[in-house]
Amino acid sequence: MSSYRDAIRSALRQLMQEDERVFLMGEDVGNYGGAYAVSKGLLEEFGPERIRDTPLAESGFVGAGIGAALGGMRPIVEVMTVNFSLLALDQVVNNAATMRHMSGGQFEVPLVVRMATGGGKQIAAQHSHSLENWFAHVPGIKCLAPATVQDARDMVLQAVADPDPVFVFEHQLLYGMTGELDEEAAPADPWRAIVRRPGEDVTLIGWAGTLGKCLEAAEALAKEGVEAEVVDLRCLRPIDFPTLAASVTKTHRAVIVDEGWKTGGLAGELMAGLMERVFYELDGPIRRVCTAEVPIPYAKHMEDHALPTVERVVAAAKESLRG
Amino acid sequence: MTRDEILAALRRHLNAIVPGEGDELALDDDIRDELDLDSMDFLKLVQGLHEDLGVDIPETDYGKLDTLEAFVGYLSR
C-alpha cells in the first residue's frame, strides 16, 4: 500500500531517473520537501540543480518553466496551491497555452504544472478553493485530476510525456490516502473518464476530491436499493464526453459532484455537454452538488457545511429518480 | 292574432328550445315526439307564449296541445 503522495513521488523519481531533461521547481520543494511533502528526499537524491527552490513569485517561476520547456527541457513546476496559481495566470494563458498555435506549430511547451487544490483542511479561503475550471476553460492546455493512488503516479508520468502544457490538480485531502500502487505498470491513458463502480439507476460524476464522496454515496444508495454508477472524470480538459454520455445513456440520470462553485463551474459545463449529446436519454434534469458560493470558511463546522457532502450527493441522486 | 303570427311565435320559441328544428316541424307533427320535448321543455314553450302573446294556457289543457295546428286552433279561439 502506498500513499497518493508516495505515488507522485514515485513518478517524479522515475521521470528524473529516466530523463535528464526533467527537473522539479517550486516553493519549498527542496529543503522543506514540498508543502505537502511530495518531494521529500528528492533533493538529497537528485541535488539542487534538479530539485530547485524558488522565490515566492509564481509568475516568475512558471514563466521560467515555460522558457525551459521551449528550450527543450521537461520542467515540472509545483505551485503550492491553485489559489496562488492565479499569480501565474498570465504566463499560463498568454504564453504556455498559445505558443504552439501562435508559432504555427514551430514551438511546443512540454511543461507540467502540479498544484494542490480543494478544501477540507481548515486552512481558510486563500488555501482551500477549487479553481480547476479556470484552467479547464483555456484551449492549449490539458488538465488532469487524479483521484486514486495509481492515477496520481500515472498522470504525472503521462503529463511529462505529453508535448503540451499539462496541469495536474492534486486534491490536498488525498495526499495521505493509501491504495494499491503498481510502480511497474505502463501508465494508463489519462485522458479518459473511467467507470469506477457500475450501476443502472443514476450516474454520479466526480473527480479528484469528490470521487470518494461519490463512491460513498453509491454505497449508501445501494443499501436503499439504488444502484449508482460512479464515473471518475479524471481529465478536466479535454472532457471525455463519450464515456459520460454512455453512462447516462444507460442510467438516464446524472448527478455531478464538483467541489468548485456552481456558478460558471465545471459542473455546469458537464451538464451542458451532456444535454447537447444525450438530451433525449435524460429522465429528468441533471443535478449538481457543488460547494456553497462562499469563500471557504475557516471554522470547521462551516467548512464541512460548505463543501459537497455524501448526504447531499445521496439526496440529489434520490431526487433524480423522481424525474 | 293571426294564424301566421301564432305560427311564427310557436316556431320562434321552439327554435329557442331545440335550435333549428322549430322550422322543420310540419303542422300536424306531434311536437313532443318530433322534437323530443320533456315536460320542462313544454312548460318553457308555454311560458314563452305567455310572455310573448299574453296567453295563459292552463295546465289541464297541455294534453290537447300536441301539434302546431292544435296550438293555432286553441289560441285562435
Binding site: 438516464h252 438530451f279 435524460l282 429522465d283 443535478r287 | 323530443d36 320542462m40 312548460l43 311560458q47 292552463p58
Partner: protein, 491 residues
C-alpha cells in the same frame, strides 16, 4: 410544483366527476387584478361532459393566471393564484408599494436563494443545499440587495423571515445602514400583514415555468423519445415523477398503442361524452353490486294538489311533477341517509347535505346529472327554478364545476317518453339512484274498489357494498308516504 404562498389560494382544475382526469381551459372570465368572491364564475372548462363554467371558492384578488386558454391540464393543476383580499395591504397605496418590494425582495431572497421555498424554479437549488441558501445571500447577493431592495439583512434574519413567511424587505432594520437583523424580524412578526406577501410574489416568480408547461404533457426527454418509439400516447400515461412528470419507467409500463382521450376527443365532443358515460357506467357495472327495487306509488293526491297549485298561477310560476318527485326523494333520503353517500373505497359515510343530481338528456345525445345543492332545503318554487336553470344551462353547455361533481344521489325520470319504469345504473361514487317512470292513469284498488288513479313506478338501485334491499325499500316507502301529503313538500 406550484404551491400557494401565504395568504394565497390556488384555483385548480376541478374534478367534475369521478371519471374526469383532465380538462381544457377554454376561456378566462377574469383577469389579473380582478377581485373575485366565492361563487363567481372565473373560467370555462371543457370536459368530456361538455362546457362547464367553473366558480372560484375563495374571496380575493386574481394574482396570476397560470394556464393559457386552450391548454388541457390534469385535474388538480393550479390554474390561477388568488390572493386574499386581507393580505393585499391595508391601504391601496400601501399595496402597490408592498407588492413592489415583495416582488423584488422575494425574487431575490426567497426564490433564488431559498431552496425550500423554490422547489420549482431551480432544480439544483431544491435538492437540499441549505449552505448555498445562506451563503449566496450572505456574500453574493447582499450588495445587490442593498441597492435594489432598500435594506440589507442578515442571513439569520432572512431565515427567520422565511420561516415566519414574512417579507424581509418590508421589515425595518435597526442595524447600520438599516441592516435587518434577527431581532428586527422577530419584532416585526406581530405587525400588520403588509410584509407578509413575500412568498406570494416569490411563488409568482417561480410559477412562470409551470405556466409555460401547463399546457403540455410533462414528460422527460427520454420518456418522450421512448413513447414515440413504442407508439405510446403520453396523454394516456400517468406520470409517477415529481409533480406528475412522466418518467421513462411510466412509458415502459404503458400499454403499446394506447390512444389517449385527446384522440378520442378529436373525433367529436358527442363521441367523447359517450366514451365518458361509457367509462363511468362500465365502472359502475363492474364494481358496484347493484340491487334493484320497484314500487308503484299512487300519485293521485300529489297530482291534484299540484294541478290546483298551478291553476291560479301564470305559466312562469308553475311547477312540473318532476319537481315534486325530486323533493320527495330528497326528503326521504334524510330518513335513509345510508343511500345519500359517496363510496370512498372501503366505506360510504353518509353525506350531511342532500344534493340531488338531476339526470338530463342532451339533445344530440349524452347525459349529464348536475347537482342541485341542498335539494331538501328548497321550497317547490325554488326547486323548480333551480331545475329549469340547470336544464337550460346543461343544454347550452354552461354548467358549473360545483354542479358536476357534488351530487350525493341521482334522480332519473324517463317519464316523458312513456316508459313504465326505469332500472337505473348508479353513478360512482354515489351509492344509490332513484328512477321514476311515466305517471299515468291505471286501475288501482282503493277501499276494496277498483278505481282509476294516476300512478308512477318508482325504482331504486342501491350499492350492496353499502346497503341492503331493506334500505332501498324504506326509501321508496318513504317517498310514497311523502307524496301523499304533497303540501308538506313545499317548504
Amino acid at each position: 410544483m406550484v404551491e400557494a404562498a401565504a395568504g394565497e389560494q390556488l384555483f385548480t382544475m376541478p374534478s367534475l366527476g369521478a371519471d374526469m382526469e383532465a380538462g381544457r381551459l377554454v376561456a378566462w372570465k377574469v383577469g389579473v387584478g380582478d377581485a373575485v368572491k366565492r361563487g363567481d364564475i372565473v373560467a370555462e372548462v371543457e370536459t368530456e361532459k361538455g362546457l362547464i363554467e367553473v366558480e372560484v371558492f375563495a374571496d380575493g384578488v386574481v394574482r396570476e393566471l397560470l394556464v393559457e386558454p386552450g391548454a388541457k391540464v390534469p385535474v388538480g393543476t393550479a390554474l390561477a393564484r388568488i390572493g386574499g383580499a386581507a393580505e393585499s395591504g391595508a391601504a391601496a397605496g400601501g399595496e402597490a408599494e408592498t407588492d413592489g418590494a415583495g416582488a423584488g425582495g422575494a425574487a431575490r431572497v426567497d426564490v433564488a436563494y431559498a431552496p425550500a421555498a423554490a422547489p420549482g424554479s431551480a432544480p439544483g437549488e431544491a435538492i437540499g443545499e441549505p449552505v448555498e441558501s445562506v451563503g449566496e445571500t450572505a456574500y453574493g447577493a447582499a450588495p445587490g440587495k442593498t441597492k435594489l431592495d432598500g435594506a440589507p439583512s442578515t442571513p439569520a434574519a432572512r431565515r427567520e423571515a422565511r420561516e415566519k413567511q414574512l417579507d424581509v424587505g418590508g421589515v425595518r432594520g435597526s442595524g447600520s445602514h438599516g441592516r435587518v437583523g434577527l431581532e428586527d424580524v422577530r419584532g416585526a412578526e406581530g405587525d400588520a400583514g403588509g410584509a407578509r406577501v413575500a412568498s406570494a410574489a416569490a411563488t409568482g416568480a417561480r410559477g412562470e415555468g409551470s405556466a409555460a408547461e401547463a399546457g403540455r404533457v410533462r414528460a422527460t426527454p427520454v420518456a418522450r423519445r421512448r413513447a414515440e418509439e413504442r407508439g405510446v400516447d403520453l396523454g394516456a400515461v400517468e406520470g409517477s415523477g415529481r409533480d406528475g412528470v412522466i418518467l421513462l419507467a411510466d412509458v415502459e409500463k404503458a400499454p403499446v398503442g394506447v390512444t389517449g382521450p385527446a384522440k378520442t376527443k378529436a373525433a367529436s365532443p358527442a363521441e367523447a361524452m359517450r366514451a365518458a358515460i361509457g367509462a363511468a357506467m362500465a365502472r359502475s357495472k363492474r364494481e358496484i353490486p347493484h340491487y334493484y327495487l320497484t314500487h308503484t306509488i299512487d300519485l293521485g293526491a300529489a297530482m291534484s294538489w299540484l294541478e290546483a297549485r298551478n291553476a291560479d298561477r301564470p305559466p312562469t310560476e308553475r311547477v312540473v311533477p318532476a319537481a315534486l318527485l325530486v323533493k320527495a326523494t330528497a326528503l326521504a333520503l334524510k330518513k335513509v341517509p345510508e343511500l345519500n353517500a359517496w363510496w370512498t373505497g372501503s366505506a360510504a359515510p353518509p353525506k350531511a347535505e342532500v344534493n340531488v343530481g338531476v339526470a338530463i338528456s342532451l339533445r344530440g345525445g349524452g347525459l349529464v346529472a348536475p347537482a342541485i345543492p341542498g335539494t331538501d332545503q328548497l321550497g317547490l318554487d325554488a326547486l323548480m327554478a333551480a331545475m329549469s336553470d340547470v336544464v337550460e344551462r346543461a343544454r347550452r353547455g354552461a354548467l358549473r364545476a360545483s354542479e358536476m361533481g357534488s351530487a350525493t344521489v341521482t334522480v332519473t325520470s324517463l317519464g316523458d317518453r312513456g316508459v313504465e319504469s326505469v332500472i337505473p345504473v348508479i353513478i360512482p361514487p354515489q351509492v344509490a339512484i332513484v328512477g321514476f317512470g311515466t305517471p299515468s292513469e291505471r286501475p288501482w284498488v282503493v277501499d276494496g274498489e277498483v278505481v282509476p288513479r294516476t300512478l308512477v313506478t318508482a325504482s331504486v338501485a342501491g350499492d350492496h357494498r353499502v346497503t341492503d334491499g331493506h334500505h332501498g325499500a324504506r326509501l321508496l316507502a318513504r317517498i310514497e308516504k311523502l307524496l301523499q301529503k304533497p303540501e308538506k313538500l313545499d317548504s
